[in-house]
Structure formats: C-alpha cells, structure tokens
C-alpha cells in the first residue's frame, strides 16, 4: 500500500481515494437508491390502472406476495434453477479447466474457443439451444430418434424438464467464465507437488483431493457465488427461450415480476415481489462478502495466486 502522507494537490492519499470513491457512489445513490425507495413506496400502494389511483395499503402486498401460491412457486422455481445451474456450471467449468490445464497440441486454440459461449448473448444462447431441442426438426431428436433412444418428436422442453434444460443452456453460457477462474488458480500449483505426490504413489483421485483442491478452494467459492447471483438475476435467457412456459412451469421470480408489471400493471405487487428477490440477493451478497474478506486459510496460497500473473 502506498503510504504517502505528503500533500500533493491539497489532498492526502486517503482523501484523494475517498473523493473518487464517493463520487462514484454518489452516482450510484442517485441511480439505484432513489429508484429503490420509489419501488418501496410502490410496494406499499395498491395500484388501480383503470381508476388511475393508488391507495396506501401498508404491508398488505408484502403479505400477499409471501403467502400467495403463485409467488411461492416462482421463488421455488428460482431456487431450483439456481441450484441446478450451480451444480452444472461448477462441474462443467472445473472439468474444462482440468482438461485445458493438461498439455496437448493446439491448447491455445481450444482455450480461446471455450470462451465463446460466454461472449454470446442470452438471446442467442436461447436460439442455439432451441435449435438443439426443437421437437420436430431439432438436433437432439434428429440424432437420437433414428437410433431409437427417444421417440420421434420427443418434447424436451416439457412441463417437467423445461427448467432443467434452461439450466443446461444457462450453464453452457456461463461456465466458461468459471473455467478461466479455475485455470488461473490451477496455474499457480507448483508442478513439483504433483511429482512428489506421484513418487508417493498417490492416485489420480488423491492427487486431485490433496494437491489440486486445496489450491483452488477459493476459486470454487467464487464460481459458486458468481453463478448463484447470476442465476437469481437471470431474466433474458428464460424470457427468450420459454417466456415462462409451457404454462407457467419455467416462470421464475424475475419473470413473474415482469408479468406483474407489464401484463397486469400490478406495480405494488411487482415491487413487493422484487423485494423478496432483493432480500435473497442481499443475503447472498453478505455471504459473498464475508467469505471474500475472511482471510483464506493459507496466506502462502493467496500470494502464490497473484505472483505468476504479474510475471506474465
């Protein structure tokens, strides 16, 4: 850390930094906190679009949101979507990172390629996975039906499995980011450790458990949190791919809020439901922050994480 106390430009270093940070945060206060308060005000008022009136109803709408089956179901669906996405993204991103950490020809090319799904938008992700899953002419049925694995015209996005396939598409889109976090962590593991483990006749699994895992524990945590947060925020992919259907089977909380707003003009109800989402997100953020700021178990590991990156 710089510890200049010398005056320069009239400000001390902490003052300089604080001035910048407060500037940035003021911008955010105006553009986020103010709307949030307005949203809170809305959540206390029942709006009637036809009469163009809004009546103060206290926390009635909050209660309605908490105990209404529609919102409860949507919340559960959000949790399910997040849970499946977290499992898939973690497995896919770690798996890809372990593969890409091996030595093989054209490794650089593959490393560049695997980032591509992350770069395309959710709307395009939805297009691609629709091409894969479409019942009458899609890729999956086109390959699997002639082999007799699935029936002709098998509906993949059916009531039971639509949310599952959305999670798969979402993980396809998001996992590459996790892969790069893992790769950064994997590259910090000294090769000697693996050689030593090999001399001790440690198998693949125990090498992973005792050598790899301790070094990437932190990256695992971050990928977990990033995916969870993104899954709870996710709107674009679900809206573009199923719009909540079939029926309301993929109507996760953000979609329900969207419908309350723009289909039913229930601004109060939508705002109350938003706060449930905000509360879940805040709990996650607090957990994120606590875990991040907590000193990691071994400082040596943390140090070794950043050294090679500086060397490049």
């Amino acid at each position: 850390m710089i510890a200049f106390r010398r005056k320069s430009g009239g400000l001390t270093d902490p003052q300089f930094a604080l001035a910048i940070v407060i500037g940035v945060l003021l911008f955010h206060v105006v553009i986020i906190i103010v709307p949030l308060f307005y949203s809170f005000w809305l959540s206390l008022h029942e709006t009637n679009v036809i009469l163009r009136s809004s009546d103060y109803v206290g926390f009635d709408l909050w209660g309605e949101v908490l105990f209404e089956e529609e919102t409860q179901t949507a919340t559960l669906k959000s949790l399910y979507f997040a849970a499946i996405s977290v499992v898939f993204s973690l497995v896919i991103s770690l798996g890809m990172a372990l593969v890409l950490n091996q030595e093989f020809p054209f490794r650089g090319v593959l490393r560049a390629l695997i980032l591509l799904p992350w770069a395309v938008s959710e709307v395009v992700t939805a297009t691609m996975w629709t091409v894969m899953l479409e019942p009458s002419w899609g890729f999956f049925n086109g390959v699997l039906a002639p082999l007799g694995i699935v029936d002709e015209g098998n509906v993949w996005l059916n009531r039971d499995w639509a949310l599952f396939w959305l999670s798969v598409a979402f993980s396809w889109h998001l996992a590459p980011l996790g892969t790069f976090f893992f790769l950064a962590a994997l590259q910090t593991i000294p090769k000697d450790l693996y050689n030593a483990a090999r001399i001790d006749r440690a198998g693949v699994i125990s090498r992973f458990y005792y050598v790899t895992l301790p070094h990437i524990r932190y990256a695992v945590l971050i990928v977990l949190v990033v995916v969870t947060v993104e899954a709870f925020r996710q709107f674009d992919l679900v809206f573009a791919m199923t719009s909540g259907g079939p029926g309301t089977t993929t109507q996760i909380l953000p979609l329900l809020i969207f419908r309350y707003n723009f289909q039913f003009s229930q601004y109060g109800l939508a705002s109350s439901a938003s706060f449930i989402l905000i509360i879940i997100a805040t709990i996650l953020a607090v957990a994120y922050f606590v875990l991040m700021t907590k000193r990691s178990p071994s400082k040596r590991i943390v140090k070794s994480v950043k050294m090679p990156e500086m060397a490049e």
Partner: protein
Amino acid sequence: MNRSPNLKLFIALSVAFVLLWTIVPFFWMLWASFMHESELTEGIVQGIDDPTLDNYKRIFGFADKEAIFGGQTKLIANGFLNSLLVALPTAIISTVVATLAGYAFGRFQFPAKTGLLFGLLLTRVLPPVAILIPYFTMFRTIGLVGDPGGLILTYLTGIIPLLSWVLMGYFATLPIEVERAARIDGCSRLKVLWHVIIPMATPGISAAFIIAFLFAWNELLFAIILVGGTQWQTLSPALLAISPLTAVGYSPIALFSAASALSIIPPLILALIFQRYITQLNIVDPVTIRE
C-alpha cells in the same frame, strides 16, 4: 512427459468432449442459417441440398422476399447500429469511471473502505428486474424512454460496480515501486495514474472495456422496456421481435438463425482478444491482497 497410452487417450477424449460441448450449438445454428426454411422444418440433421445466402441477404435488404415480412428484418440491421451506438459509449465511460474507482480501492486505504466496497458489491447483486418500474417511471418523467441516453445510463449503473471490482483486484497486483518513484519525482497523483499506472494496466483495462461492451451489446431486459419497438431498438430486442419463440404469427427460424449468427460476430472477435487478458485479471481474490 512420461504418460501411459491410456492417459493420453483419456486426455484426447476429454479434449474432444470439451470441444464438442462448446461448438456443437454454434455449428447447428450456422447450419440452420444456410438452409431454406422448408428444408429446415423437415429436420436439421441432413445435408443441405441447396445452401442459400438468402437469409443473410434479407437482413441487409437484398432479397425479393422481403416485402412479405413487412420490413421486419430491417430491425436487425438497424439494431446493429443502435447496439453499437449504445455499447461503445457505455464501454468507454464505464471503463474510465471504473479505472478511477478501481485504482482508489486497489491502492489506497481510507476510512469506511470496507463499507463502501460492500455498497459497491450490493449494487452488483441487485436483480435488474427489481428496479425496472422505478427506472421506467423516472425516465418517462424526464423524457429518456425511447432514448439511447437512458439506456446507456442504465447500463453504466449495471456494469461500473463489476468493473471496479475487477480492476481493484488488478491494480492491487501491479508493482508499486514505479509509482512510488514517480511520486517522489514530483508527479501529481493523476499524472502518475495517466503516465505510469494506465500504461502498466493496459491488459486489465482492455479486459474491462470488453466486459462492458459485451454487457451492453447483449443485454435484453432494459432494452425491451426502454427502447423496445422504437427506432432506437438495440439488437437483442430486435432479435426477439423476429424470434419464432416469442413472435406472434409465423416467423422463420432460418432467418432468425442468420440474424443471431450475425449478431455474435462482434462479441466473438472481442472474446478472442479478451481471452489473452483474462488470465491476468485477478478476479480470484481481490480483497485479501491488501497488505
């Protein structure tokens, strides 16, 4: 490397699997975009009898069939321009602001730093849909609905916290000695930032710029609400407007595939540049590097 053939085979298979997992969806979307609609609806897993560029031509208005769709596809070409007009300013402004904020957070100690950091992070986890109506109402009051300025403003709030966070970790890893020397030689703080830090931090700052550009290019929700259906409609809502998944009435998937394929060209180029930088970003553990 003394590897057994078995291990080599296993690695080869894993590499093949990773490759397939990544490119198969891309491949079939491109495949569909060269098909005639009638051929596509018979099944995508077949050779293309008569590969066509019609779908692409129609997007640029070079096909006779255009009249049938009421100029719908013009939305895509238009969306391209609008997305560029929105994504570029978003990326430039947010990178500048986040560079300053990231530098302040990454290099200095100041009162209430932890609290302020937390405030920054909290704005990141805020679900966009939760502030949709307030934004819409506010922007309608000041006349920013249907205006790209409103959209840019919204994107800035969404992306600046993330970029600051990423750049904070990055600045903390840069060697401090050069900076210190420059300061002792009498450079002002902003001069040091401009002449010393920014040249050193180019990879991180470029990565931040790309993240911001991709975010603005790809975003859908606010684009629908703020500019959807107007002349300023960006690419994502324009795509959705011709999407057979959501559009009312008949809408061709081959055309939609072609439009989607075109829309990913800028992101793909940026991603290829980006992957050189991303390994240098310390997103892994920005907070603990304080001492």
